[in-house]
Symmetry: C2
Amino acid sequence: MGKKVVIIGGVAGGASAAARLRRLDEQAEIIMMEKGEYISFANCGLPYYIGGEITEKSALTLQTPNSFHARFNVDVRINNEVVAIDKEAKKVKVKKTDTGEVYEESYDKLILSPGAEPIRPTVNGFDNPKVFTLRNIPDTYKIKDYTKKANVHSAIVVGGGYIGIEMAENLFRAGLDVTIVEGADHIIAPLDAEMACDVQNHIRDKGIELILNDKVLSIEDSGEGLNVKLASGDRYADMVILSIGVRPESKIAKEAGLAVNDRGAVLVNENMLTSDEDIYAAGDVVAIQDFVTGGEGYIPLAGPANKQGRIVADNITGIKSVYKGTQGTGVLKAFDMTVATTGIKEEAAKKSGLDYEKSYTYSASHATYYPGAVNMSVKLIFEKVSGKILGAQIVGYDGVEKRLDVIATAMRAGMTIFDLTELELSYAPPFSSAKDPVNMAGFVAENIMTGKTKVFHWNEVDKLPRDGSVNLLDIRTRMEYDNGTLDGFMNIPVDELRQNLDRLDKTKPVYVTCQIGLRGHVACRILSQNGFDCYNLSGGYRLYASIKR
Amino acid sequence: MGKKVVIIGGVAGGASAAARLRRLDEQAEIIMMEKGEYISFANCGLPYYIGGEITEKSALTLQTPNSFHARFNVDVRINNEVVAIDKEAKKVKVKKTDTGEVYEESYDKLILSPGAEPIRPTVNGFDNPKVFTLRNIPDTYKIKDYTKKANVHSAIVVGGGYIGIEMAENLFRAGLDVTIVEGADHIIAPLDAEMACDVQNHIRDKGIELILNDKVLSIEDSGEGLNVKLASGDRYADMVILSIGVRPESKIAKEAGLAVNDRGAVLVNENMLTSDEDIYAAGDVVAIQDFVTGGEGYIPLAGPANKQGRIVADNITGIKSVYKGTQGTGVLKAFDMTVATTGIKEEAAKKSGLDYEKSYTYSASHATYYPGAVNMSVKLIFEKVSGKILGAQIVGYDGVEKRLDVIATAMRAGMTIFDLTELELSYAPPFSSAKDPVNMAGFVAENIMTGKTKVFHWNEVDKLPRDGSVNLLDIRTRMEYDNGTLDGFMNIPVDELRQNLDRLDKTKPVYVTCQIGLRGHVACRILSQNGFDCYNLSGGYRLYASIKR
Ligand SMILES: Cc1cc2nc3c(=O)[nH]c(=O)nc-3n(C[C@H](O)[C@H](O)[C@H](O)COP(=O)(O)OP(=O)(O)OC[C@H]3O[C@@H](n4cnc5c(N)ncnc54)[C@H](O)[C@@H]3O)c2cc1C
Ligand SMILES: Cc1cc2nc3c(=O)[nH]c(=O)nc-3n(C[C@H](O)[C@H](O)[C@H](O)COP(=O)(O)OP(=O)(O)OC[C@H]3O[C@@H](n4cnc5c(N)ncnc54)[C@H](O)[C@@H]3O)c2cc1C
Ligand SMILES: CC(C)(COP(=O)(O)OP(=O)(O)OC[C@H]1O[C@@H](n2cnc3c(N)ncnc32)[C@H](O)[C@@H]1OP(=O)(O)O)[C@@H](O)C(=O)NCCC(=O)NCCS
Ligand SMILES: CC(C)(COP(=O)(O)OP(=O)(O)OC[C@H]1O[C@@H](n2cnc3c(N)ncnc32)[C@H](O)[C@@H]1OP(=O)(O)O)[C@@H](O)C(=O)NCCC(=O)NCCS
């Protein structure tokens, strides 16, 4: 018999570690403890079962205890909760959740992958049985069964993060009236506020009510349903979904004396080893190194959990695999839209004191002359001096996650915005343009960095003087201008600009807007070479209007 | 007046150079000579206009001479063909194609972007007016008008490259019976033969006839249509499309004494400067440096042409932009399938004498539990010692070009297959799996490179001894096995393997197959740790069967 490995948690990190471990070591004794009834389930699919997009219960579990044992010869113990770790004695104390029986199990190596639990603040009424959280399959059935009751017609989703938006969409799909209450000034925290506007507009258009900058003060059960007290007033709903984030399930780790950080995330080194030389950890329970800032972070995602599980198995068998940090690449379907992000957002760059610049572009998913092209909005955040990419946010419909993954890959490789201009990406009319949106974002960032076109940003528009001390110029067509422009801006279409330079006052700066920034760039190049001090509205009127809507 | 720049060719490379040049230099005198009637047209969209997917003629041109002049103040001269370059006198001789008038134009800098012309071998009958090639808008109208004739029902497309396949699909869409005749043993040259099989099967299933390993010996006009003589016999068709490749349109460059290579491609340095210090070149007319091998190559694509045009403009205005080579990233829609490639194929790696290895994987476009997941077939070619990625080929339906672009980006960054295992790509069920197909390809390549699982390949299957001197083992389920297996292979399902090791002869090697290679990897790990010398069929039964179909 080889070494004895006990694993706590049988899903993303735990099951991945177990499978790889068995492949690497046929002799090891592997015991996988799972306090719940299921292993190897599709956490990320749960909202879609509630909404009815996934119809089969069986689709939610990738492996059963039996199949996992047959394939990997792992002793899978469901309904077995590890309640204590004795790291000196190298033993865990286990409680059978069905019988209450308690027993001990020794280990040579222990793997922690207990995941994270939904945060439930101590607010009056959050313990009401009509207030749900979603983490596992039993939660899922409970919510789905409840939505099917005859008298359940409305839901409030508290928290507009990834899971909150997915739940809102799926409850809506299940026929409920849905309201999202979000404490911040915008939904989807990995986005900066201005990039969230298009998504907010979209989900409102779909029929979801969205309340920002507000929070739940208390919940009262009216007997029939719930009176939800918000700062902005009272609301009624038949059920509430709490999705304001998760926290590492690290109670037993802490009690065992493993090093954890302030938020309770288990600290690990680059081999995913905890402060104890025989205990590894993976997944939502660990603190990660932020790939971009190098600082400590907490980014609970399935891709990292799976990879970390595999790395743990490698290290236990003597392969020195290294986890190089999490950059926070994520994607969300929000009805017809796709939102994808990687790296840090502007807000975080600012907080970190980084000297950054940003670019906004708006590009077609594929050649505009081929049917079906739709636009996506791309924000790049990059270091001012080096051009190193710090983060990207893309919001749109088709092809969003492709461009995001390309940028995420470029970031992993330490590439700069200059490198983005050179990427050779696949092009044929149904798939992209000869200059891919990623190339385009690179060109625009390059023009900003090298000073070819100076820019001003959407949040500066309202502050521009309207007293004639600056030139305010909309260079779109007359028709576009007539349909709405920025307050106080005059119109000279770019194609007539060279002939009308005398209408501008060369002694005063010129602030230029067009629809997305492209023609503004052309106009600014004309103006600056004619001696004007000129600034192009980054992201153009479109971005500004989407924020003001 | 600033410097005088003459541009030959008004489309991808030429128009891009002109636009960027104007943005960088408002004072330059820019003259764009275009021998045809159109500038700035969508070469790549032409087949889709013929098939009817693009319906508007206007969609085919991104700019007209007027709009281009208004926006960029460029003197656009359509129907003006440059017939000679005098590089000593720095003059071009220009012929007006409508009037025949000839005149001279001097330049300070000259930009060549005349593109490439379809190859028309000197075969009897290739000059028949019912034999078409497709390069520009007039060609497109000619073909489309001809397909609409009452008596036109069938077409033979000669050459199964990207344009050939696009034409075949679009003529088929336009209602014709279509046959493709391809000289090589497979269509789509950037693919290795075994990767083309799925595409060949697909387009045959769609109703296209495909003749491989054959060529047109001559064509005779029967009055009504064409008798096309193939090595394999005679064929009748109402029209023929010749799409066997293009050659650089470099006649005037050669005559002017510019350095060109054997195939006539103009030689340029990394700044896109030709052998003459005042003449730059971009696009399909130039020889490129192969990004992977470092050797000279010829890869005529729109993305590189656009980027090179921009780089030429930079250099003319004193910005020392560098073109770092073409890696040959391309994508093709073939009916419902997508084919995408980057870097070199195995055949090329072999020819270059590179010490390479390869991996095959077959992964779902997104989480299999979420509706709509479809598989894609991924081939990676990588250096044996370093793991450096040399090329990738992906064939499938949804999400193919995303994974290809990610790998293309990784290649640009000089990444290895080890890096692919670490890429943090966006995951939610509608978009990918927690281990993205690119990660998975990395894992499998890593296992091959590090010797964790030894593999054998599809082309070795038939050569395996069937005399009992080796173990031949199919580890799929009984049902899969009964539906068809490799000749001579016995069945032990992987989940029963540990209990049945005694049915195998440990003194003889074991050749394992499963469906795609995944379970074979698990089985090989079990077997090798139990003392067997074991080999997994890379790509599994699926790949083998797709080739043998
Ligand atoms: C609704 C939902 C949607 C999501 N969508 C996405 C998405 O689209 N993309 C994405 O990247 N990520 C998504 N995630 C996050 C992703 O599921 C997690 O990052 C990942 O599952 C973490 O893996 P893990 O192994 O750390 O924890 P888990 O997968 O949660 O597994 C931990 C397991 O450990 C068990 N356990 C805990 N403590 C003990 C104990 N003491 N003894 C025994 N067993 C114990 C738990 O019961 C649990 O089953 C989603 C999560 C949820 C809940
Ligand atoms: C049908 C078709 C489909 C394609 N599909 C794709 C695809 O999906 N993806 C992809 O990446 N690439 C594709 N390509 C290739 C792509 O179009 C070319 O790589 C690109 O257009 C090359 O740009 P260029 O500027 O070098 O040449 P071109 O775009 O061909 O422009 C050259 C211009 O120069 C003019 N010219 C030539 N000689 C002279 C002269 N002496 N005087 C004046 N004018 C002259 C020509 O008339 C022509 O208009 C396709 C090409 C075709 C024909
Ligand atoms: C499914 C689960 C048990 C992992 O099992 P796994 O065997 O490691 O993962 P996969 O089935 O994806 O197989 C991957 C292995 O097959 C190999 N493989 C894949 N395709 C292959 C091919 N075509 N040829 C050869 N090997 C292949 C890979 O290299 C890898 O092996 P390695 O780790 O030894 O390199 C675990 O991920 C799990 O429980 N997942 C569900 C929970 C979850 O992830 N939730 C969050 C997301 S919803
Ligand atoms: C259209 C064509 C004339 C090129 O013109 P172009 O002005 O260089 O290209 P685009 O319209 O894409 O604009 C790109 C410019 O706008 C800038 N830009 C794009 N979006 C922007 C934004 N949101 N904000 C600011 N600037 C922006 C880019 O930085 C770039 O400028 P730069 O080169 O100075 O950096 C030329 O590509 C062409 O003729 N194409 C058709 C032919 C062809 O390509 N055929 C093959 C494929 S079918």
